[in-house]
Subunit: 484 residues, 2 copies
């Protein structure tokens, strides 16, 4: 922690160059001095001392030296300090991360392990706990990001503060998605009578009880809090009590419009489970036209999958296979996605599915058949450049999908692949300037609206109960049939 970090920004390296320059000047001066008469020597010493004083003054003014890395000192952020008077639109947003009771973070990792026959007693050193990989592990990356030393976070759109009074936002780093799957593994100690079965519902209730006791939650009724609920089922039991917060979600499949929306919340990507394709662009090694591997039978919007199977499984250049999550199937899916031109992304139980993000990192052009899908970072990503959208009823027309995709030229596929390559970093959680930074950027953009709602809520007078008080942004598009 105390090691002097290397300059990570032009700002500090710039200062280091100043140091070098000055050192050289001083060396020249001192070597000169060594050979001069004493009068000259004294004058020069006085002169040098004066210069050094001025230099120290300049330096102190401009250099947030690396060893004053007290996060408090950085609270006002580079921008507000150095560009004083110019006043950029937004200085860095300041985030306070709650030090949650262990049962809401590391405790869940332990429970996950216990349920799979791992250690039973809590470990002393949390750093020995490994968060298990799964498609909603974004919660782990955000938590880890804020736990990094601030000097490693200079590129982040947010700065972590240790004093809640300085915070714009409050992050609640509960592992809400992992909590959902603690008991899904089957077997292990969970079947043993000695261990009380973990309850996600209880965890949710306890978290909200804890939260509602917090001064900063009560202060603004939760508006300025950020909660990760990546799995469409996460936090669902207590959603009405946490809905004011900025929710990080995969879609709105299980949420009512008054609980969650594009305006208030942030759509986050699933954590891709398939390796990033690192080969060359092109279709030489992509002989399959369209690939899908996943559960054929899903509820609600996902019912379309079975219908798509019917339409597509007779097409020769299409691979469409039923398969559930397993290491072996993941290998097969990797192989399939890395050797196909297009990857099919039908809705699952909810409009989103991890497969989209697997396709993106595989440079396999996604074919999205999910009419209510919402997409992450859509302010900066034009998804028509990286994916094909097809309206459901059209996609089900026999022959349509396969013949339309076959007609796409190699040049066009290359264009898609090039764009996919461009945006890959947005979907890689452990990229140094990837998903995590982009999520914080999106969250930061909510701050003005959050502050607006906080102030407005407190002065709103009683209204007729019949009047709802919602501010909406509505689209008035009739919608496309296919983006091809």
């Amino acid at each position: 922690m105390n090691r002097k970090s290397k300059p990570t920004s032009w700002y500090s390296s710039n200062n280091n160059n100043n140091d070098d320059d000055n050192n050289k000047t001083l060396k020249i001066l001192s070597s000169l001095m060594a050979r001069k008469s004493s009068l000259l020597k004294q004058t020069l010493i006085a002169c040098v001392l004066f210069i050094l004083t001025v230099y120290a003054f300049v330096n102190a003014f401009f250099t947030p030296s690396d060893d004053n890395a007290d996060s408090n000192a950085r609270v006002t952020s580079y921008f507000s300090r150095t560009l004083d008077g110019i006043s950029p639109n937004s200085p860095k947003v300041r985030v306070y991360m709650y030090d949650l009771p262990r049962k809401f973070t590391y405790g869940i990792i332990e429970q996950h392990s216990i349920a799979r026959g791992g250690q039973v007693a809590p470990v002393a050193d949390v750093s020995s706990l490994k968060y298990p990989g799964h498609q909603h592990m974004g919660e782990w990356y955000l938590f880890s990001d804020l736990n990094r030393p601030e000097e490693d976070r200079l590129e982040s759109p947010v700065v972590r503060v240790t004093d809640p009074d300085e915070a714009d936002l409050f992050y609640v780093p509960v592992f809400s998605s992992l909590s959902l799957i603690v008991n899904t593994g089957g077997g292990g100690a969970s079947s043993s009578e000695t261990v009380r079965r973990y309850s996600d519902d209880e965890m949710q209730e306890e978290l909200v009880e804890w939260l509602e006791k917090q001064e900063y939650w009560k202060r603004n009724n939760g508006w300025d809090h950020v909660i990760n609920a990546g799995d469409p089922n996460a936090m669902l039991r207590v959603m009405d009590r946490v809905k004011n917060a900025v929710l990080l979600v995969s879609d709105f499949g299980r949420l009512r419009p008054d609980q969650s929306s594009l305006v208030k919340d942030v759509i986050i990507p699933y954590s891709h489970r398939i390796n990033t394709y690192t080969g060359d662009l092109g279709v030489q090694n992509r002989n399959t036209l369209l690939f899908f591997m996943g559960n054929r039978y899903r509820k609600e919007g996902g019912k379309i999958r079975d219908l798509l199977f019917n339409v597509l499984e007779t097409e020769e250049d299409v691979i469409i296979k039923h398969g559930t999550q397993s290491r072996e199937n993941r290998r097969a899916a990797t192989q399939g996605m890395h050797t196909s031109k297009f990857c099919l992304n039908p809705a699952g139980d909810t409009p989103s599915a991890c497969r989209l993000f697997d396709a993106i990192v595989s440079l396999c052009v996604p074919v999205i058949v999910s009419d209510d899908i919402e997409l992450p970072f859509e302010d900066v990503i034009d998804y028509r450049k990286i994916a094909v959208f097809v309206e459901t009823s059209i996609a089900l027309k026999p022959g349509f999908l396969a013949s339309t995709l076959r007609a796409v030229t190699t040049e066009r596929i290359l264009e898609y692949q090039k764009e996919l390559k461009e945006v890959q970093r947005y979907f890689i959680y452990d990229h140094q300037n990837g998903t995590v930074n982009e999520i914080w950027r999106e969250v930061s953009q909510k701050v003005p609206l959050i502050k607006y709602m906080i102030n407005r809520d407190k002065r709103l007078v009683r209204r007729e109960p019949s009047k709802s008080d919602c501010s909406c942004l509505c689209t008035n598009q009739t919608g496309i049939i296919s983006s091809l």
Copy 2:
């Protein structure tokens, strides 16, 4: 345009100065080494020169020089260029202002003048035209602001660009509010048969026809356009055709929720018509408890006014007077607002009214009785600190308002006044860092959401017509009865 732009940031000036400093230092050193006679003198001169250089360096550091005003060079803004790699949340938003046909801007000033017996033929030099003062003249200040040379706009949150391809937003500087009142003056040439009567409806239709032919309007269906509709009746006839734009409005009184909302649009202040109070804080010269002067009879929400008259006109320390717009009444209102502790702000035909902003600059604590009012800049202004909110039915209880206000201590009134003084600049359109900058700041904050909607709209597939596609932010507060 090709002249080499001077360093526009401390970063580049820093580098340049480093070079200069080093060159000078080396020159001095070499001259020192070359001649050894009169060595002391030389050294002293060198020392002074060096100190001067360091001083110049420090100076350049702190002074963003004013003559670096090439607007194209500034397009990418200080932030994106100089902080490369750190990437602040938002570089300056780039605004392109349409060069509208004259009939939508200066032509309306002319028509207003003609209707009042002014000149009949269009003037050659538009700078001789004076935009007439009225409560919705914000449109004039925004137009004038963007017409100022960029070097005078350094503090603005937006930068004007002359190339529409570089723009984030497009400003349509129509004088929509002035257009509404062209014919309201009565008399003058408008009664003459020789001059065709001006039609605001026709102006609106013609503007939309013009707009819908513009490439940049069509490109994103108007989402990235900004239109001033300050008067609650402005642009109303064509609202459904311009509703995608960011509307600058006084309230939502005449607008449907799918046309306008806090999320998409910006609430702007009326232009105050009463002089700013420049005297000391305090209540010594404010003997009236509560003051109101304005139209007693209004439609819709404004019906409350007559009821408030009934309740308040018998109170001894309250002045509540019926009066319409006139120069004389404005003088009386100024006198009243500058000598009262509280100023009553009931709803008008729509929830907002200019009186609130007159009260604010008069340091007369506003008492807002308008349940559906929306307030400008509420993300940065906590109105409970500068105004009293009272729910309508409570305000109408005989005796309640006067006795509640009488109970407010002088200290509390002083606190209100101090806060009012603090925020005055937000409500002064011709303040150098006043309303105009704040409006642009609010508009800038919409950009991420606008870009989101633009990208999303284009890939949305056809949905069931029954499904509305709105993203909402809803308050779930029951509301207060009185903020006192």
